[in-house]
């Protein structure tokens, strides 16, 4: 069937993308540097040489601790942030224009943000917020925009008569629906969702997740779903990528990654999830990962995870591992496939 052939087609490609945040060097420091004092250049390497691909209609979950660079990666894929190196293509077409001041050119990728209290302009009626993009890009005429807005409000489960209201008149879940309507009104092929349910009540989270899944089916959306919540990601994703300190450490189908993790970090992450299941009438103790995420300004050499890894060898401290096939997925560990994790 065409459904099968479509889903095997690579749709979003991320090619060796990196992003460094260089802190502003003050004039005083620059003069000091010119006079011979050593200039401390502490660039934050938020994302380091990440490559991945997403097939048409697929949902790729992106998991990582705070500071792992997942939001930065999502923003680069959406074209909000300019990559320091590398390229993002959607259906072969680059997301950004070239030139000295690169800017986003495509409307085919849209984004849903974490905080629906911050992502809607508080001084604009929600109808105008939703209609603004489609009008600017000629998807709908000004005269037809109200009907268009009402269509999308209905589609995300809101009252179509709510268009003239302001964001502060809605609850968190309703606001996130408005944000979803705004993104979908641009008729995107790809949706980047950056922690879209993290700031919502648990009962609302389920509603919004179900809305995502329903819309994905109806509109055959390709999605990048960013979250630190392992359960949420498994619920919505076909494939999952695990990020650690700016790099992808493991990527594969959700089932493979969750049931048979190949990277020690993934394994530790899964073991650290608190669960309410009783085993032999005792509480299952969950194991937090020892240590903290190292500073992305001074990432450790070799494998970024070696400082917290119980399996670390001498090789891990010098040689950065590359993603290679292990089990049904790919993992960036020198010993992937060889390690025996105790569960």
């Amino acid at each position: 069937m065409s459904e099968v052939s479509r889903s095997s087609e690579v749709f979003v490609t991320v090619e060796g993308i990196s992003r460094r945040f260089v802190p502003h060097v003050s004039l005083g420091d620059r003069i000091a540097a010119a006079l011979g004092s050593p200039l401390e250049q502490r660039a934050v390497r938020a994302v380091e040489d990440v490559s991945l691909s997403v097939r048409r209609g697929e949902v790729l979950g992106l998991v990582g601790e705070s500071g792992s660079g997942k939001s930065t990666l999502g923003r680069m894929i959406c074209g909000i942030l300019v990559p320091s190196a590398g390229l993002v293509r959607i259906d072969g077409e680059s997301v950004m224009s070239g030139g000295r001041r690169p800017r986003k050119t495509t409307t085919r990728v849209q984004m849903i943000f974490q905080d629906p209290y911050a992502s809607l302009d508080p001084r604009m009626r929600i109808g105008d917020t939703i209609a603004e993009g489609p009008i600017a890009h000629g998807l709908v005429s000004k005269a037809d925009s109200l009907a268009y807005v009402q269509h999308w409000l209905r589609r995300v489960g809101l009252d179509p008569d709510a268009a003239p209201r302001y964001p502060h008149q809605f609850s968190g879940g309703q606001r996130q629906r408005i944000a979803i309507a705004r993104a979908l009104a641009m008729k995107p092929d790809v949706l980047v969702c950056d922690e879209p349910v993290a700031s919502l009540d648990v009962s609302i989270q389920a509603q919004i997740l179900n809305l995502f899944l329903a819309l994905r089916q109806e509109l055959s959306l390709t999605m990048l779903f960013i979250s630190h919540h392992l359960g949420v990601v498994r619920h919505v994703s076909d494939r999952v990528a695990i990020m650690y300190l700016g790099r992808i450490v493991e990527i594969g189908t959700a089932d493979a990654v969750y049931t048979d993790p190949q990277h020690p970090y993934t394994q530790a992450l899964l073991a650290s999830v608190p669960q309410l299941v009783l085993e032999d009438d005792k509480m299952v103790s969950f194991k937090p990962i020892p240590g903290e995420l190292p500073s992305p300004m001074a990432p450790p050499p070799g494998c970024h995870f070696h400082l917290r890894c119980t399996f670390a060898q001498a090789r891990c401290r010098v040689e950065p591992p590359v993603l290679r096939p292990a089990g049904a997925q790919a993992a960036a560990c020198h010993f992937a496939g060889e390690l025996q994790f105790t569960r």
Partner: protein
């Protein structure tokens, strides 16, 4: 469900809690009405030199003139009725203050928000220039400019705008830098919307509260600055006297006991400026989230 007009209604409700601000607002409205209607309510047209009677020059308040007309506030050196001259002077002062304030608002807010939006070198260039300008006293700049441009309403408005837009730009830049980092701006960029729409439809409306406060203060400052320039002889000509010109004209008679020529225009000027500042203070207090009860 809260009505969409609620923010304005609430603002007005809070504003009414302050009696001083209400009185000040009433005074402003009254002065603005007098100024606007001066051609119809003033007993004399001070611009029409034919109606002036030199016999009645420098008469004290309450003097009954040759035509049986009572000069309630006295007359100036040309025999002009001071009450009429003050009404016409207020009209000019209010016109110039509002026009200069509005233009400075538009120029300053555009520069400040654009600088904050673009960032990098452009921002540094614009803001350093504005900082440089702010390090000069506004009066000095206005003085030099009006000396170069000459007399006249348009010239003085240009001088005032140049001297004052920097305050708007600074404030707008500060507020816009904070707004720039918010997710709704990222959302607009990810749509993507053109830069001018992001700046003028999203960032600028959210920077309005502090700008409105600056605007009230700067309108009052423009009026004071115009009066200063006119007093120094650089503002408006004697034939079209503003309050500053009137004060300057009477200044030489102060010590000879003919106080009214300077004092009454001065009182009108002070009342207007104080009233605007009081209203501005109240608006600032209400818009400052830290002072919210």
């Amino acid at each position: 469900m809260i009505d969409s007009a609620a923010p304005i209604a609430r603002f007005w409700f809070e504003f009414r809690q302050s009696q001083i601000a209400c009185v000040a607002l009433l005074i402003i409205v009254l002065i603005a009405a007098l100024a606007l209607l001066s051609p119809w309510i003033a007993p004399q047209n001070p611009y029409d030199l034919a109606t002036l009677v030199l016999m009645d020059a420098r008469r004290p308040p309450g003097h009954v003139g040759a035509g049986g007309y009572v000069y309630w506030l006295g007359t100036d050196a040309q025999g002009r009725d001071l009450l009429s001259a003050i009404l016409y002077g207020l009209r000019i002062s209010v016109q110039i203050g509002l026009a200069a304030g509005a233009v400075a608002f538009v120029v300053g807010a555009t520069l400040g928000t654009t600088a904050a939006f673009l960032g990098g070198r452009v921002e540094m260039l614009i803001m350093r220039f504005i900082d440089l300008q702010l390090s000069f006293p506004a009066i000095l700049l206005a003085l030099v400019l009006s000396a170069l441009l000459g007399q006249g309403k348009v010239q003085i408005i240009i001088a005032l705008v140049t001297a004052q837009y920097a305050y708007f730009a600074r404030t707008a830049h500060g507020a816009a830098s904070a707004e720039r980092a918010k997710e709704y701006v990222e959302a607009a960029l990810s749509t993507p919307l053109p830069s001018h729409k992001v700046i003028f439809r999203h960032i600028l409306p959210n920077c309005l509260p502090p700008l409105i406060v600056v605007a009230t203060v700067q309108v009052a400052n423009s009026i004071a600055l115009e009066a200063t320039l006119s007093f120094l002889g650089l503002g408006l000509p004697v034939t079209e006297p503003s309050l500053g010109t009137l004060i300057a004209n009477g200044f030489q008679y102060m010590l000879s006991g003919r106080y009214w020529i300077s004092i009454y225009p001065g009182v009108a000027l002070i009342v207007l400026i104080v009233a605007i500042n009081l209203v501005g203070d109240q608006i600032r207090d209400q818009l400052n989230p830290r002072l919210r009860r």
